[in-house]
Amino acid sequence: MKLCVDNDWLRRQIENDPIADADAGRVIRRSADVVKAVEAAAQPQAATAVVPPKRADAPLALLVHMTRRRDRLTVAQFAERIRVSEDEVTAIENDPVYSPRPRTIHNLAEYVKVPAKALLTLLPDASSVDRSLDDAVYKFAASSDDLSSLSRLERRGLNDFVKFLSAYKRGTETDGK
């Protein structure tokens, strides 16, 4: 392996660095700490299991939640509007790994006025790596907060995201661009 900077660069920077701690991550005090860290690193899947996904990581949950708040509907009222059960709306909003039935996606797409294909890209098991979709989801998630009614910023975030989904053509295809 080759360093991305040379030793002259390192000397100049180190000379100007303050005398300061630089420790990060796990606390290492003995060899056993190193072993524990490497054991965990060798099993990344185990780490996945203990990190619960958040609503912000589940764009469909966020979209449903924000739309419902925008329209000032309870879960029961929203379920009635999109002709699905209350339990399903609750599951979509609260379980980031829940994958709704195709009919629910269809009805939801009709209500939000976006193509159903675009909503499929928001499912937890969608294989999308589309950068433009990721960016739109991130902006949308960043604009939201759990207040009782939508702020102007949240409303704009929701509108932008719905507009993006309406124009989104790729469905679940991925091209990485």
Binding site: R11, N16, D21, A22, V34, V38, A47, D135
Partner: protein, 203 residues
């Protein structure tokens, strides 16, 4: 298992001069033994409740040998005066290796699982640290790994409280705030733009 990458500079604070150290990749029995023999007693002196149980280094070395997996992580260390001056474990894959930075959300990055400097180099533990630069060299090694992995130098880490100023002010990383999922340590990222600025930086 342990391979020397090259000679890197450190700053000897007693002599006020640069000196040479060895940067290596991987770990061997001597490194593990050295951490137990040299680091642990100093930490134990600072925190007496943390006493050693037995010769941990022996089983630790064996365990590390069995766990070698260069696809998911890399271990690095710096040696000077025949002692390990610092160690770092970087992850190249797994749930922590995705960016949270608004510049490139979910882009892959190298995550610093730990960056640890020897207790005698830590101003938080000793009034007269011996070497300066261990953290800087190890951090730039992580950036190099990230570039080699085609992650454009992107780095993520959770800073220990005493090191936040170093990552925020000297390395110009983005402070993404406290992470409730990681003992409320502050999470920092070096974005692609920041990588370029860092490498181009003049002191």
């Amino acid at each position: 298992m342990k391979e020397t990458i090259g000679t890197v500079p450190l700053f000897d604070l007693n002599r006020s001069a640069h000196c040479n150290a060895s940067l290596f990749q991987g770990v061997d029995l001597d490194t593990i033994k050295g951490i137990e023999a040299d680091w642990t007693p100093v930490f134990n002196a600072a925190a007496p409740q943390n006493q050693p149980e037995d010769a941990h280094w022996e089983w630790a070395a064996k365990a590390l040998q069995a766990l070698r997996n260069p696809l998911s992580y890399e271990l690095f260390g710096i040696e000077a005066d025949a002692k390990t001056q610092g160690m770092m474990l970087v992850l190249k894959g797994g749930p922590k290796c995705f960016s949270r930075h608004p510049e490139h959300p979910r882009a892959p990055l190298v995550y610093l699982d730990f960056l640890a400097t020897a207790p005698w180099n830590r101003p938080g533990l000793t009034a007269t640290p011996i070497y300066k630069g261990v953290g800087r060299v190890l951090f730039m090694t992580a950036v190099s790994v990230s570039i080699e992995e085609e992650f454009a130098g992107r780095i993520g880490l959770h800073s220990l409280p005493g090191a936040e100023a170093f990552y925020r002010n000297r390395l110009k990383m983005t402070d993404m705030g406290e992470d409730a999922a990681y003992q409320n340590l502050r999470y920092f990222e070096l974005s692609e733009t920041q990588v370029k600025q860092l490498i181009a930086a003049r002191p």
